[in-house]
Every structure is written in C-alpha cells, then in structure tokens.
Amino acid sequence: MPRNRLIALACLAAVCVVLYMTLAARAPWSFLLPFRGTKLLALILVATSISTATLLFQTITQNRILTPSIMGFDALYVLIFTLAVFFLGSQAVMRLPPQMVFLVTCGTLVLAALLLFGLLLRRNAKDLFQLILTGIIFGVLFRSLTSFLQRMIDPNEFATIQVASYARFNDIETDLLIIAAPITVIALVLAWRRRDALDVIALGPDLATNLGEPPLPRQWEVLILIAVLVSVSTALVGPVAFLGLLVVSVTYVLVPSPHHRHLLPAAALVSISVLVGGQTILERGLSLSTPLSVIVDVLGGAVFLFLILKGKRI
C-alpha cells in the first residue's frame, strides 16, 4: 500500500511542478526555462532538505514534535553568519565568493550543532520536554544575540544580514545552487544509505542496541547530516519555522509506514508539493503579498497544537 501512496504523491508533486513552470507563461520559453527552472530547482532542494532533516531528527530523538528549526538550528546559522559580518565587516564578507562563505558557515554550524545539541541529546535523552524547551530557548537566545549584534553593526553592513534573516521564496540565492545542489545530493544519498539503520534506531535505544545497531555513533552521523541540510535550506531561503513539522506530520498520516525507505521519499514529495504548490498558488493564483513562510508558520503552529492536544488524550 505505501507504494501506491508514494506513486500518488509523486503525481501530485509532478502536477505542482508542471503548473509552476507553465501557469501564466507569457514570456518565451528561452527566458522562462532558465528563470523559473533555477527557482524551481532551489525550491525542490529546500523542500527535500527540510523534510529529510526533520524526519532524521525525529527518528534519532524518537519523537514527533521536535524539529531542527524548533531546536534553533537555523537561528544558529543566521547567528554564525552575523558573527562573520560583525568581526570581518560586510566588505570582507561580500568580497569573498558566496560559495566559500556558505561552506565556512555550514562547517561552523556542523561543529556548533555537534557540540551543543550533541551534548544536550546525551544529557537529556530521557527528559524529552526539557530538551524541547531548552531547544526553543536556545532559538530565542540565538535570535536575540543576532539582533543584538545587528544593532552593533553599521546600518550599511546590516543590509547584508537582513537578507539572510528572513525567509524568502521569491528571491532565492541562485548563485549558491552550484555548490548547494551537489552537497544536498550527497547528504541525501548518505541519509538514504542509512535507511535500514534508521528503521532500527526508531525502535528506541534498548531495542536498537539489542539488534546490533547502537544508536550513539549513528546519532552523531545523522546530526552532521541534519546540520548540513539545514545550512543548505537556510542559506537558500532563510529560516522557515514550522515547514518541517507540518510536512512530516502530514507524511506520517498519509504514509503510515515504519520504514524509512517509504518515509524519506514520501516526506520529500509532500514537502515539494507544499512548497512548489503553495508558491504557485500565492504567486500566480491569489497574488497575495504575504510570504509563503508566514502561512506555513500559521498552519504548522496549528498542527503542532493539535498534535499535542490529541496525543496526550490517548
């Protein structure tokens, strides 16, 4: 049955992609194809990285409400970028090739995430809600520190950071695609190769150890993958708070399978449908001025409250 659901989801995602490319196409194709094509590629990359990062994170922490962005991963990315501008100056940062800035920021995020969340995960593996609360508070701390540093920075340099701190789907950093695309593909392949191990880890640390799959080394590997995927999506479009939660929660309902070989592609397809479809509707259908991220935040927040209220009654 998951197979049929996956095919249906693939069709839905394909329809969204086709509509995005063809709807209201008034310019010649020689212009439209590269113009919309790069944006579409970026959207697909972002959708897949967010859904995969969230799914991996929920598997290694064995819960269904925690996501990397709730834990403040993307806030940390923006903070690291702000720190770079603060200490080096925007001139120096702008003069460097954007790909290199991305690589360095991404590398720092991986280290910081390992240090911070790795320690946190080990210390608090049992007390899930304390872990979530700590993560959210970290998020607030990172955002406050970012805005504190932004106040200390020259207004001219501030413009460089402002672009990085808000989610934007209309104006995507396409320069980064050359480097972001291969990195994402590598991370996705690595995640895909661990799909069976992930199935075992999802059973909980005791069962997993018993089955010959001690969760701890895998947790570190997966944490690195998550940090890389979050860096890609944050660098391309900025922080998106609740997209991962929304997409993965919907996936669990649509494809009720314990196997990551179903869950990983299903989440990616749902995510692509939501992002590309939502962007098509917003841009071409309703011509709303509100960014998609705000709407996703409202929907995702509602899903979160619903999940908690429903989950606790069982």
Binding site: D127, T134, F148
Partner: protein, 311 residues
C-alpha cells in the same frame, strides 16, 4: 531588610537613569526641562513596566499552575498586538484610550484561550505547558504578521512587537500609571492568588470563589500586558525570570514576596534600559533585545540548576 536594600538599589538606578543620555545635564542650561520631558518619564516608564510585568508574570504562573509561563510569550502580548492591529485597520481614528481598551479585550480573550488549552493538558507534564504557550504565542504572532502583511502595516506593527523606551516622552506614557495601580491593587488579593496556585479543589475547600479569582487574575494579567504593549511594546522574560528568582530565594507566599517581585522587576528592566543606552553610546539598543539575551541565559540556568528543595 531585603526589601530595604532592594529599594536603595532601585533609587540609585533611577538617579543613574536620570543622568545617562546624549545631553550632559551639568552643562546644559535647559537641563530641567529635559529631565521633566524625557528622562523622568523614561525612568518612570521603565520602573512601572518592570514592576507590573513581574507581578503579572507571578499571577500568570499561579493561574496556569506552572513556573515556566509568562504573558509576553504565552499569547497575551500577541493578543494585545492583534487588538492594536484590528483597531488600526477598522477604526484608525480611535483614541489611545480606545486602542488600549480593545487591546486589553483581545489580550483577555487570547489568555483565556491559553488557560483553556492548559487545563486540558496532563498536570504531570510541567514542561509541556510553556512549550504549548510558546507555540500558541507564536501562532497568534504569525497571524498578526499575516494580517499586517496583507494590509501593509508590517512596519507599523513592528513598533509594538519589540519594546523599547526611547520613544517615551511626557504625555506619551501616562497610561502606564493605570498598570501601576492595577499591580498595586493586586497586592490586596495576593493571598487569594496564592491559594489559586494550589489548584481548584484546595481553593474551593478553603472557601475561595475560584472562578471569580481566576477571572480577576486574568484581568490583571491582560490589562497590565496590554498597557505595556500599547505604550512601550513587547518586553519578554521579565514576567518569567523575576518571579522564579524570588521564589527560589523567598518561597511562595505571594503576599510577602510580591513587593520584592515588583522591586526586582523594576530594577531589572531599568538596568537593562540603562545598559542599552550605554553599550553603543550615543546610539541605543532596545531593552527587549538586552533582556532577550540576559533572560534566556537566566532561564536556562533555572531549567538546569538543581532545585534546593524537592520540587
């Protein structure tokens, strides 16, 4: 004794606050009018905001029966912002008093909604309550952003989303005195709020008119929060950090701790405001940003430090 030391520190901070600013008081001939028009109102506003928000936080924690909630993150502040936004869209010419009234009503509705959700959560999950509060507040906040985006009021609403005192002048902060009066008045019923924190059955057993007092508490929290949002904007973490620190030091008898809570809240906000004026002199950093950094660190400490007695 403690309260006397606190008051002395508060007095020193207030005097300092009168003298910190771009214009040097000792050389300027217009010094007195400057103090009257800008420095004194600003100092008073910071003191009242801090004290009343800390009191509101303490009451909110008793209402939700959880130490980790506060009005600015659990939907009350966002509700007030929603009220301001609605007034601006539908009745742009309304007076400041009207704005305040509507902001208080929406704040009351959203905080009531929060209590309804909290009551449905299991009592044993202490950490779940603030989590739900944060998401609930974020949800209303995203709703506010959505409406503001659609009506091109995003920049306008940003003023209320992050609190700062630099815009406070004589004639533009007097509404805050109502918050001060409400906070002082809540002292009269402090013992009843303290009983509320023991739960419904104990309260009823002790002869408390439970629903009445819950409503009264919600009113105090909403009015104080809405007034603060209307006059200075959202100021996070005061209502959370201050009551927790005082409770660690002095216990939970609200009637004896409320003055200390108010004094500490006033001192914290004023100190952060002075710091915000000095860190990047002659420019300013909003008090909300400074509090966000300090407040989160204190909160993490509260969360991880081992309680001295059994919780």
């Amino acid at each position: 004794m403690r309260i006397l030391t606190a008051l002395a520190i508060l007095l020193a901070l207030s005097v300092l606050s009168l003298f910190v600013g771009v214009i040097d008081l000792s050389t300027d001939a217009e010094a007195w009018s400057l103090v009257a028009v800008s420095r004194f109102p600003r100092t008073a506003a910071a003191l009242i905001t801090g004290a009343s928000l800390a009191v509101a936080g303490a009451i909110m924690q008793l209402l939700a029966r959880n130490r980790f909630v506060e009005p600015m993150t659990a939907g009350t502040g966002q509700g007030a912002a929603l009220g301001i936004l609605l007034v601006t869209i539908f009745a742009p010419s309304a007076s400041l008093g009207m704005k305040m009234l509507l902001a208080s009503s929406t704040a009351l509705i959203t905080s009531f909604g929060f209590l309804v959700i909290v009551r449905r959560l299991p009592v044993t999950q202490h950490i779940l309550v603030p989590l739900v509060g944060l998401v609930y507040g974020g949800l209303i906040g995203a709703g506010v952003t959505f409406v503001a985006f659609q009506s091109d009021l995003l920049q306008y609403i940003e003023i209320w989303m992050s609190g700062e005192f630099s815009g406070i002048l004589q004639g533009r902060y007097e509404l805050l005195w109502i918050a001060a009066i409400v906070a002082i008045a809540s002292y009269l019923v402090a013992d009843q709020f303290a009983i509320l924190g023991m739960g419904k059955s104990v309260s009823l057993n002790l002869g408390l008119n439970y629903d009445h007092i819950v409503l009264l508490g919600l009113l105090v929290v909403s009015v104080v929060t809405a007034l603060t949002v209307v006059v200075v904007g959202m100021i996070p973490f005061v209502g959370l950090v201050v009551p927790n620190i005082v409770s660690r030091l002095m216990g939970d008898d609200l009637r004896s701790t409320l003055p200390t809570i108010a004094a500490l809240g006033a001192g914290l906000v004023l100190a952060c405001d002075i710091a915000g004026r000095l860190v990047r002199y002659p420019f300013e950093i909003p008090v909300g940003t400074i509090l966000g950094v300090i407040g989160t660190c204190v909160f993490l400490w509260l969360l991880f430090a081992k309680p001295r007695h059994a919780a």
